[in-house]
Each structure stands twice: as C-alpha cells, then as structure tokens.
C-alpha cells in the first residue's frame, strides 16, 4: 500500500475491485465503514456480487479478465470530460514529456506497440523513449498539447476505449459503467480523494501488472497519490506478505528491492554500474543513486568484515543471465526432472499452485522433499493423494513441524508497511520449538568445514552472530532482537557524520547514514531506523494522532523512515500548500515540512514570491525522472496498458485489437500445460477466490472444526440461468472441469452471478474457492490426534482447473480467468 489501513477512512470514494475486502480483509472494512459514515461512496466492481458488494453504493459486474477495458474506459471518460487534476498531472507526472516520434501504439500497429518481435514474443523497447535536448534532459511541453507528449498519446491510445466497446468486452451495461466512472472521477477535484483496494483479482492475470498500471494512471490523473484517502493499495493476502517481499521472498530481488546479481555482472563495480540509475533531470532526487551504499551495507550484513566488498559480492549467488526462477518456472523445471530436492516452507503448492495436477506430478520427480508446516498437507502427503500409486513414487518426504508465527517473537509487516513487533503469545509444542534455519545453517557449515566442497567460501564466511554459541559452535537460541538489529544496521568502524561521532558497534540511526565504503552494515536498507539507539521502534505503541488524519506515527514503525503515506510531497501544490487542506498529509510552514515524514526535506518547488526554488527536488524521489510514470516504458508488454484476453476466454477474437492474448506472456508447451480457447467442452468463464472462513489453501483452517463447520465443502457459485440450462439445483453435487482437471463441488445457485452479454452473446461465469484439498476429505481417513477428524471437508483444490500461464512481468499465474464446464455429479 502507498497508504495504510486506517487511511482508508479519509477517502471520498472507495473502489474495491480485484479484491473482496469484506470477506478476505475483514478488518479493513472497519475503515471502509468509517469512510462511508463520513459520506464516502463505495464502489464494488467484480464478476460476482460479493459480501463486499452487499455494502456498496454502486455495484458493476464485469467478466473476469477485462479490467484493462473497463479501467481504460474510465481513463477515456476522465480525459474526455477534463476531470483530471491538471496541476498535479503537470507537476508530478511525466504527462508533459515528449515522446520519440517512432513510438507507435496498438491502435496504429494491429494490437502491439512499436518494437514487437513476434518470433521471440518480445519487445525491443528502444522506441518507447523520450526526446532529449543536447544536455540529455527530457523535452517537455508544460501545456501538454504537443501531439507527441505523454498526455496526448495517452488520449489517443485510450480514445479507442469507447463505452460501446468496453461494454461489449466486459459484458457490463453502459449505464453501469458510466455510474462507476462518474462517481470515481469526482476525486479529480484537488480536495477529494479516492482509493483503490485491490488484491489477487487484479494481479493473477496474464495482464496483471498492466491492470495495476491502468489504475495507477487513473490515480495519477485524478491526483490521488500521496494524498490522505488516496493511493494504490494492494491488500496483501497474508499478514506478513509485505515483510517477506521486503526481505526478498522473490527470486529477482535481494532484501530492500536490490537486484539479484546475474552471472555477467562479474564484479561489484559492474553490478553497481548496471543497477544504479542515473538521471540528467536537474531537480530529480533520484534516490536510487544510493544503491552502492545499500548494496555494500547488505554485503557487510551477510559476511561481516571477512573480506573486501568485491570478494563478498562474488560470494553472492548469481542468476544466469535472463534466468527466470519464478514459481511457474520452478515447478516446470521440477516437472521436467531438473530438481532433486525441495523445501516446502509453510506452503502447500499441491493446492495453491495453478495447474495443481502438474505440481503434484512434479513432486513425484523429486528424490526428497522437506515439508515444513504445522500440519500434514496435500504437498507432504502428495504420494498418497488421488490418482497416486505410492509404490511407484520414489520421493522421500520429511515433515518438520514448525512454530506458528504467534509462537515466536518478531516483527510482521502489514500491507500498510508497518513493521509491528509481536511477543510470543504461547510456547510452541516441543518438536516445533527449534529454529530450523539455525540448525540447517550449522549442519551445512559443518559439512563444508569437514568435507570442503565446490565453493565453501560463502557458507564459511556467513556472519551468524545471533546469540551465544555452545561448545559445538552452534547458536543455542536465535535472538530475534539481534536479527532485527542486523537488519537495521551497525557502524563497523568509528565514523563522524555531520559533527556526530558514531562508534564502531553503534546501530545506524537510519539509511541516510549507510556508507558505500563498507564501514556500515544493514540487512535491509528500507528497514534501517526500525531498531536504533532509540530502541526497538517496531515495538512502539504510541496512541496519539497529532495530525488527526489517522497516521498514528508513534505506533510501531513504518518503512521508509516511518513515512506513513509515500509520495506525500505530491499532496501539496508548488508552494507546499495541501491540495486537501482538511486532511493534509504534510504542509510547508515556511521553514520545514509539518505532518507525516516527507519524501525528503527539500523545500517546495516554488518560493512564496513565485520564483523556482533552486534547492527543491521533485516529488517522486524513487523515479530517476523525478515524476510519476503515466507512460511506463519499463513494462514488458508496453508503456500504456492495452486490453488482451486471458489465455482461455470465450471469444475467438479480442474486440479491441487483432492480438487475442498478451503478446509477451510466457506460454508453456509441456504435456500438462494444455489450454483450450473457445472450446465447446469448456464454454463457461471461471474464476477462483477465497472465503472469510478459510485461510489460503485451508491448511490452517480446514483443521479447525469451527471453520470447517461454517464452510465444509468446495462449492461453485452459478447463476440461476446457467443452473436451469444445466439442470442443476441449489445444493446439488457437481463436477467442475477444465482442460487440465476436474474438481467436486456443491452448487450454490445464486442471483449474485448473472450471465454476461458479451458483444451480443450470452457468456456464463462461475466461481470457486481454492480453500479445499483432498487431505481433509472423508475418503482419506482423516485423523486429528489419532482420532477420526470430526469435521472432514468435501472436494479437492480448485487449482486443479487453473492454467500454467503467467503475467509477462511478474509470472504470477492466471488463476482468475479460465474456462470450465459444470455438470451434475452422476
């Protein structure tokens, strides 16, 4: 989230799309309810009328996989009616930038942008560039009238997203679309704000990144970013997803969003040269110019003072150039026998992975698997699951019981970037009261010490000072505070900075103090300040709200540097006056910024007399150009979003352009990676979702009798019209099938799904939760503590139906739009 949970209450219009906040983020609705109490309008856009929709002022149904179309229609509406916040757009976005004349959009080029290479399904992005003057500074037209400026190109691009076309694609009535557009576009007034609450309903598509981009463009046009009650707000699906991403859960990043080194970047200098952004824009803060400081401090956190920085850099694991090690790729490789072993840490890919049937087959190819979990699950027990013959499976599985997060002291980082320290609420059961990573590290290091190995240096030099060691050299008990302090960072030698002497061993006050020369450490620069001389800031529980806008900046700690709303210097005009004076994030009092921690302390763009302030910096400090990207040349499928259909859809042709699907989406072609488009056998659009009563694949909730009691079975929600066609009655047991698999479910025949009129054709859509799995069904002799489990569930994972295909930027699987059939169970 650019903003934070409490801030939702400051919104004038709350748009919930691509998420079902009432059901999956129940506590967020406290703040939605507060906003509504203050007069805010709630808009719900979803294929299905959900528990969120039940509370909305406006509900619009859209066919799954058509978000860019309806959001693109909103962009057109905002531009046509000049409802955008012109000053904001001019000052804080790249809308005035003038583009290279060779840049062409899909309207000109049969559905692709300039530079497309159909053979390799890739773009040469060289034409997606700005024109520059002799000094390399980007040419701009502050009037934003130049036909090649970003705003005019945006207008031209989205001029094709007419109400008629959008309505035909989405299956949404024009009246409904207009009602949504009108309500949301009111937030283009400088003092009104709108927020978007989205989640996997927007990201899990082949165009997921561009779904979010489209909304980000809307938020920029309406001047909603950096503002109270605004922002682009991803509702994270688990309590600590934000934290795990910040600390490098994903393959392509190191902690703090530093890039994972690749093989050809063979020295630290080369790496820093390639990764540190440069800019010629005179007023850009270009914060990432500090890359060398953050990388050097990270290396020091990993390896201490064991060697020089370049040697330590060489110890870091490298990706092959161009290697993609994302989820879909890993399981594809596993399926193809490229792995011998697999650690499944607190996850259940046999149910959570798209095309779960392929995942289950892939697990068969392993020699060993370590399943680290609270409960046995479909992954650890895959060998005794449906369709498996244990006698033929060689994979040896080890179950390591682990502690629940509530049984451990430490921090979690919520969607609003608050790192909150929690004490252990209970002691874990004895077998789980072990820090598995500590044990593993010790054992692996010992093996390297005793037996050598191909490249022992990174292991043997790893700093591991997390508590007193026993005679064997093993850390007896991992001290979470020492981990947190290492993340914050230390001075590794005496250092005088701005007249203050910091001693070797002192905690660094914040990331502004990190050094590129190896004299500081920090396990994650973004978290520097979380645990410093002032103590464990994450454990703070201050309840005052001095601004009155719900920042509560003495409660826990928030990255970066306790800034509760990021990009907040865009919340003011050129003179530092808030656009929305009744809910200011910050303001300039003539000497300094007051309110939230500003994005840098530089003065406003202009002095009170109207002259430009030479010591100012532009508001979007993380962008080398200093302003936000309406034109986003970094994305894989184009600098503007364009509507493409999902891999599986009910249409032969994309109604917007001649390219049916995302032209750069990675297509898998293995035996199990089948997909069928416009096939009579699978004529129904399907999506998956979560329910309040279960948690992810249900591993933490299916075993709780009270939860299983409320939601005991996999279900499929279908419209009354489709039920009639199929002869299905409410409560009937049915089979839902796709090109990849089938799953049992109970039919919930409902008014909350309606057939869509897609360009004159009736298209049905259904939806299923993905919270179930075979391991808790009656058929598999479910036992809890040795006794038959009281509340077995019905049905396996709906991910048996979903396809192996990912977003072109992130490789997130497209589980939110695919094709199925539904039949009564015989």
């Amino acid at each position: 989230m650019t903003n934070h949970w409490i801030d939702i209450r400051n919104s004038d219009v709350v748009l919930i799309s691509g998420s079902n906040a009432a059901e999956n983020h129940p506590i967020s609705f406290k703040w939605v309810a507060k906003a509504m109490e203050n007069g805010a309008k709630l808009i719900s856009v979803d294929p299905r009328f959900t528990r969120t929709s039940s509370k909305a002022d406006i509900f619009a149904a859209i066919r799954s996989g058509t978000d860019i179309a309806w959001l693109g229609g909103m962009i057109k509406y905002i531009l046509d009616n000049e409802l955008y916040h012109k000053d904001y757009v001019k000052l804080y976005t790249n809308a005035p930038f003038i583009l290279n004349s060779s840049f062409k959009t899909p309207g000109d080029l049969d559905g692709v942008f300039s530079g497309y290479d159909p053979k390799n399904r890739k773009y040469d992005k060289s034409s997606w560039a700005y024109t520059k003057d002799a000094n390399g500074v980007i040419k701009k037209d502050p009037s934003m009238k130049d036909p090649m400026c970003v705003l005019q190109q945006l207008k031209k691009h989205f001029s094709r997203y007419t109400l008629d076309k959008v309505s035909a694609i989405c299956g949404t009535s024009k009246d409904s679309l207009l009602e949504v557009y009108k309500a949301y576009a009111t937030t283009g007034k400088p003092d009104r704000t709108g927020t978007i609450m989205y989640a996997m309903g927007w990201t899990q598509h082949t165009v997921g990144t561009q779904n979010i981009r489209t909304m980000a463009i809307i938020q920029l046009l309406l001047g909603n970013i950096g503002m109270s009650g605004g922002g682009v707000n991803a509702l994270r699906g688990e309590s600590n997803v934000q934290g795990s991403t910040d600390h490098c859960l994903l393959f392509h990043i190191l902690p703090g969003y530093l890039a994972t080194p690749s093989a050809s970047l063979s020295s630290l200098d080369k790496y820093l040269e390639a990764k540190t952004p440069k800019t010629k824009e005179p007023y850009s803060a270009n914060w990432w110019q500090n890359y060398p400081k953050y990388m050097a401090s990270l290396l020091r956190a990993h390896f201490g003072m064991s060697a020089d920085l370049n040697t330590q850099y060489n110890w870091m694991p490298k990706l092959d150039d161009g290697q993609n090690a994302s989820w879909l790729m890993l399981f594809d490789q596993m399926y193809n026998g490229k792995f011998t072993g697999f650690f499944a840490w607190g996850q259940n890919p046999a149910c959570s992975g798209s095309n779960a049937g392929k995942v289950r087959e892939a697990l068969k190819k392993l020699d060993w698997m370590v399943n680290v979990n609270l409960f046995d699950n479909e992954t650890g027990s895959f060998w005794r699951g449906p369709g498996m013959n244990p006698a033929e499976i060689k994979t040896e599985v080890f179950l390591l019981p682990c502690a629940m997060s509530f049984e451990k002291e430490g921090s979690i980082t919520n969607s609003g970037r608050w790192a909150q320290w929690r004490y252990a609420a209970a002691k874990p059961p004895a077998p789980a009261d072990v820090d598995i990573i500590n044990e593993l590290q010790f054992k692996v290091r010992k093996l390297y010490e005793e037996q050598g190995g191909v490249y022992p240096d990174p292991i043997l030099n790893l700093a591991w000072d997390y508590g007193p060691k026993g005679p064997d050299g093993k850390v007896r008990h991992m001290n979470t505070h020492l981990v947190a302090k290492e993340i914050n960072g230390y001075f590794l030698e005496d250092k005088e900075i701005k007249g203050t002497l910091y001693k070797k061993g002192d905690l660094v006050p914040s990331f502004a103090f990190l050094q590129a020369d190896g004299s500081t450490s920090s396990g994650n620069w973004l978290y520097s300040q979380s645990y410093n001389a002032g103590g464990n800031n994450m454990a703070r529980r201050g309840k005052s709200d001095p601004t009155g806008t719900g920042l509560y900046n003495g409660w826990s700690w928030c990255w970066p540097v306790n800034r509760r709303i990021i990009y907040n210097r865009a919340s003011v005009d050129e003179y530092g006056k808030p656009w929305a004076p009744h809910k200011p994030v910050i303001y300039w009092n003539g000497k300094k910024w007051v309110g939230d921690v500003p994005d840098g302390g530089w003065p406003p763009l202009r002095k009170p007399d109207g002259t430009w302030n030479e010591s100012t910096k532009l508001a979007y400090i993380m962008k080398p150009v200093g302003v936000a990207h309406i034109f986003g040349p970094g994305r894989a499928e184009g600098p503007f979003p364009e509507h493409y259909e999902p891999l599986e859809c009910p249409l032969e042709k994309n109604l917007m352009n001649p390219q049916r699907i995302n032209p750069v989406a990675k297509i898998f072609t293995g035996k199990m990676d089948v997909f069928l488009n416009c096939d009579d056998r699978y004529p129904i659009v399907a999506t998956t979702y979560r329910v309040t009563e279960h948690w992810q694949t249900g591993i933490l909730s299916r075993w709780l009798p009270w939860q299983a009691e409320m939601m005991p079975a996999n279900f499929v929600e279908i419209s009354e019209e489709l039920a009639k066609e199929k002869g299905i009655r409410n409560g009937n047991k049915v089979v839902v099938s796709s090109a990849r698999g089938k799953v049992d479910a109970v039919a919930i025949v409902t008014k909350r799904f309606k057939p869509f009129d897609v360009a004159g054709t009736t298209v049905h859509q259904v939806g299923l939760p993905w919270a179930f799995g075979w391991a808790t069904t009656k058929e598999y002799d479910v036992k809890a503590n040795g006794k038959a489990y009281t509340n077995p569930t019905y049905g396996d994972s709906s991910n048996l139906l979903t396809p192996t295909v990912g977003d072109a930027n992130t490789m997130i699987p497209e589980t939110k739009a695919f094709m199925v059939n539904v039949q009564k169970k015989s």
Binding site: P26, F29, P712, T790, N791
Partner: protein, 278 residues
Amino acid sequence: MAEKYIVIDTSICTACRGCQTACKQWNNLAAEVTENRGSYENPPDLSRSTYTKILFNEMEKDGGIKWYFGQKRCMHCADAGCAKACPVPGAIVRDSNGAVLINQAVCTGCKYCVFGCPFDIPRYDSANAEGAGVDKAYKCTMCFDRQSMGMEPACTKTCPTGALSFASKSKLAAITASAKEKGLTVYDGGPLGTGVVFLLEDSPSAYGLPAKPAIPTPTYLWRTVMKPVGVAAFAVGILAAIYHLVAIGVKEVDEEPGPPQGGGPSGPPSFGGEGGDY
C-alpha cells in the same frame, strides 16, 4: 429493563461470522458436522452448540441485488416469553444487566420456553455436548460471565467493523438517534423491549425477524391467567400439563431430568441483582 444492549447495525455487517466463531470459542461449543446445502449459511439451525448464527438472504430489489445478513440469537426481551412460559421457579432468570438466562442447574427440559419465545430461539436437547442425557434448553447467555468480569460479550468484542456493539442505555439512545438519521429502522421488539437492538436497512422479514413479535397466545394465557392462580405446587403441575397439551402436544418420550450441567463457562450462572423468578 435491560441496562446493557447488544446493537446490530446491519448496514455495516459483512457476514464475516467472527461473532459466530467467537461465541463458540468463549462458550466452548462444539462444531457441528455440516454440509453445504447451497448456501454460505451454516450450521443449519441454532442448537445446544450453536447460540448464534448469521443468516444470509439474497433477493432482487429495485433492479439490483440485495444480500442481507441477519443474526439469529436470543433477543433478551424485557418481556420475555421464555421466562413467562417457564414453570420452574428460577430456571429462567434475568441478571442485573438485563440478560435473560436459562439456569441449567434448575431447568427440567420441559421445552415451554422453546414454544414461548416469539423469536424461536431456545433449543431443547436431550443430551449435552458430551452426549450425557441432561434434558435442557440452550441459548445465548449474553456472555453474562464475561460481563461479570467487566468484559463485553465475545460477539461484540470480535466484530471487526463495529456492526455489533455493546451499549449502555444512554449510548443506545445516541446510536438509535443517529441510525434514524441515516434512514435505518430501529428494531427493538416493540412492547417486548429487546436487549438486542437491530438497525435495519429493510423490513424485518429480510433479516429473518418477525415484523410484529409477540409472545404466543398459549404462553400469554398461561402466564397472565393460569400461572398466578397456581400458587400451590400441585396446581402448577396440573396447569403445566394443560399448557403442555395446548401448546406443545404430548411429549413422546418423557425422560427423567438428568443431573444439572456443571462447570465450564456455560455452567450454572451466579446471579446478582434481581435473580430468581420475575
């Protein structure tokens, strides 16, 4: 007259059912074995192990869809039909905060309360959660035990949106006044004076509530005409039998009342204030 109220603002209830689970957790109530019957709603009914449940009701209205979430639970009436019907002194009592309670140490399992309730709430069971034959009636206790420790009921405590809240009489007045301003209807059982007050966006029936709740006539007659006459214990017995025949019919198996259920958070209440019959 109730001193404390549970307010249910249906306009911000998201049917997350945190209240349903919190109730089971606090009262240590077992999960029932359920199946999906074509609805999110479960368990199917109130029971000895389900004191409250969220009702899901979808309908088409004004060209759109409505999905209303009601809550089935004891309304803790000031004029309580269950208590009026109860023939056993001290079996149904009211505590000082206004909670209407079945004292299971005294309850004989006659089921009069089941039929005397205008809201169809108490549930009779011949066995308790452990399967022991106890022959008792069960319902929400308004978490009198939590209240006695200065805590609010488990359901209101857990509600994430504030749809369920626990209010004093004066706070209730403020809440209902502002609800009316927002166009919500205040549902407080009319003359019954319920301790659970709903704020409704639509008609009571959309939330599974009777439009005009009233104590069933046989109970009314029993209470106002016959019961006062039967001061002598034997007369109570005879009249109760008559009431039984009128209101319920012949009980098929007349079991001996089992031993009083003891211990645990749902054990016999200790009453302060106006305990006993009322």
